[in-house]
């Protein structure tokens, strides 16, 4: 269980995290999502006591991280895959960290097996591929058999097999009743791995919701309708908040009405439908929609819809 209360962090003038409150519960994978520079890594560093909050506080299992007598047993962390001295072998890296807390040697060999680094355990980390580095980062996080895991972008740089492996591993860990918080800037990845979502942008909380709820509440979902008399149906569906676009060939794209409602209207007027499909706006799109005003850097506005771009309110230069 991770609890953040009104957590804020300023680096000089720059506000990295602002009044952030959330709870990460055990037994589920929680995705920590936000565009680059949203404050995810800063928040994670504050969880681990590496950065001190400017105000507010964050606790793990009811205590500040630094107050735990054996933090490796409480929280396993992978902050950046490369938070590892490149001159040391993987095994020696793990042995050194294990020694701080009196974790036995056999546990080191266990986690090496778990992440599948047996053959590379004695190789210097500097020679590792990105994927191997990620695996060593996961091994480091698992070392103390912690009830809580905090992982910053764990799938970055992994090949598809590695991505699948990590997804399964994290779900298994959560199923064992652990608290798993992982950050990403990819909504699509989160949708596959996480059950719960904490979305931030520019250091502020944007959403704290379950993945299924997020999918359901995603605005902009349209319904694709195909029928013989598209013109008649268009007239029947028209309303204040309804938008009907004719795509040709009797296909309509309707926004503002549920598929159920459309089906009912068509039935009442005896219009035969040959297709009625809710179009789930892709999660990635919904996420981008949600964080549109909160990305730190963005390409020139010509790529975006002209209407919702706020140019007046303090966009960073």
């Amino acid at each position: 269980m991770i609890e953040a209360h009104a957590l804020s962090k300023r680096y000089g003038e720059r506000v990295a995290v602002s009044d952030l409150s959330f709870t990460v519960r055990p037994g589920a994978v929680t995705g920590f999502l936000g565009p680059n520079g949203a404050g995810k890594s800063t928040t994670m560093r504050m969880i681990l006591g590496l950065d001190a909050p400017t105000s507010g506080q964050v606790t793990v299992n009811g205590r500040r991280y630094a107050d735990h007598p054996a933090p490796l047993h409480e929280v396993g962390a992978m902050l950046e895959a490369r938070a590892i001295h490149t001159g040391r072998s993987a095994r020696n890296h793990l042995l050194a960290l294990a020694a701080t807390t009196g974790i036995p040697r056999r546990r080191v060999d266990e986690v090496i097996d778990t992440v599948g680094l047996q053959d590379a355990a004695r190789t210097r980390v500097g020679r590792f591929s990105l994927g191997m580095g990620q695996r060593l980062g996961i091994a480091t996080a698992l070392l103390g058999d912690p009830a809580t895991l905090v992982l910053d972008e764990p799938v970055n740089g992994l090949d598809p097999e590695g991505v699948l492996w990590i997804r399964t591993l994290l779900k298994d860990l959560a199923a064992e009743g652990r608290t798993v918080l992982l950050s990403s800037h990819l909504m699509s990845e989160m949708a596959l791995t996480a059950e719960h979502l904490i979305i931030i942008g520019r250091g502020r909380l944007i959403a704290d919701t379950s993945v299924s709820e997020f999918v359901r509440a995603t605005p902009g979902g349209s319904v694709r309708v195909r029928c013989d008399d598209a013109v008649a149906l268009t007239a029947l569906l028209a309303g204040p908040d309804v938008d009907v676009a004719a795509l040709g060939g009797g296909v309509l794209e309707v926004t503002g009405l549920t598929s159920e409602r459309i089906g009912r209207i068509a039935a009442q007027h005896a219009i035969a439908l040959s297709e009625l499909t809710p179009q789930q706006a892709s999660l990635e799109q919904a996420f981008m929609e949600l964080t549109r005003d909160d990305v730190e850097f963005r390409p020139p506005a010509r790529d975006l819809d002209p209407a919702p771009v706020p140019t007046s309110e303090g966009q960073p230069a």
Partner: protein, 279 residues
Amino acid sequence: MSAMTSSPAAAAPGPAATVHSRVTQRRVLHSEWIKLRTLRSTFWTLIAATVSLIGFGALFCAITANRWPHMSAGDKAGFDPALTSLRGYFLAQLAVGVLGVLVITGEYATGMIRATLAAVPRRLPVLWAKAALYSLVTWVLMTVGALAAFLIGQGVLSSRHLGTSLSAPGVTRMVLGTGLYLTVVGLLGVAIGALIRNTAGGIATLFGVLLVLPALAEALPSSWGNRFGPYLPGNAGQALISLPREAHPLAPWTGFTVFCVYAVVALAASAVLLGRRDA
């Protein structure tokens, strides 16, 4: 999860519960010992320090023994057998100082420091362990090295009957002092590494303080330079390796104490900052 329980007593009844051990200074020492001995840079740098200490001492002695008949009276008067055999310390201090800085900045450069401080969030045990272990390793190696350099050097010089022995006045102090001076150089390196947190900056600062400051002090009017010069870290520390007959402004152990004070102050400052700064 047994990790939810904070005391070993509470964890005991659970069937699969492991009694979770806590972080202690002793364990952090063990961890830092593993870190120190599992890096190649440690090995090679310490070899370099020892080889320069012994090798250059032997080389200077051999050259002196060889050139003795041709040396001027002034050169002969300025010659000291003990100091000549220990001269390698001037090069050895580079290796020892660089490794001292690297013990800390190597972790910042690679990001390892985050893993280290996440494992030991109270932080200070890490600094104490690094400082203590590195000082101990340097002291043992450099004392043995200085003794070897002295004995080899005197062996070489004895061919011209120029050698001296440990029982001569001030000689034991100079030999042991070489090991002690180099130890504190290493410790100062650790402290400056922790203050600056960057390898290039740390090394530049350390040797700026040790080697460049004394040269700058010489540019001052002599009334100032003579007054403050001896109290500069490098000068003060090297008082311990000075000749008894030389009128060094600071007594050997006074100078060394001044040098130690610099190191302790730097270490204390780095301890305060380590606790305050974001990692």
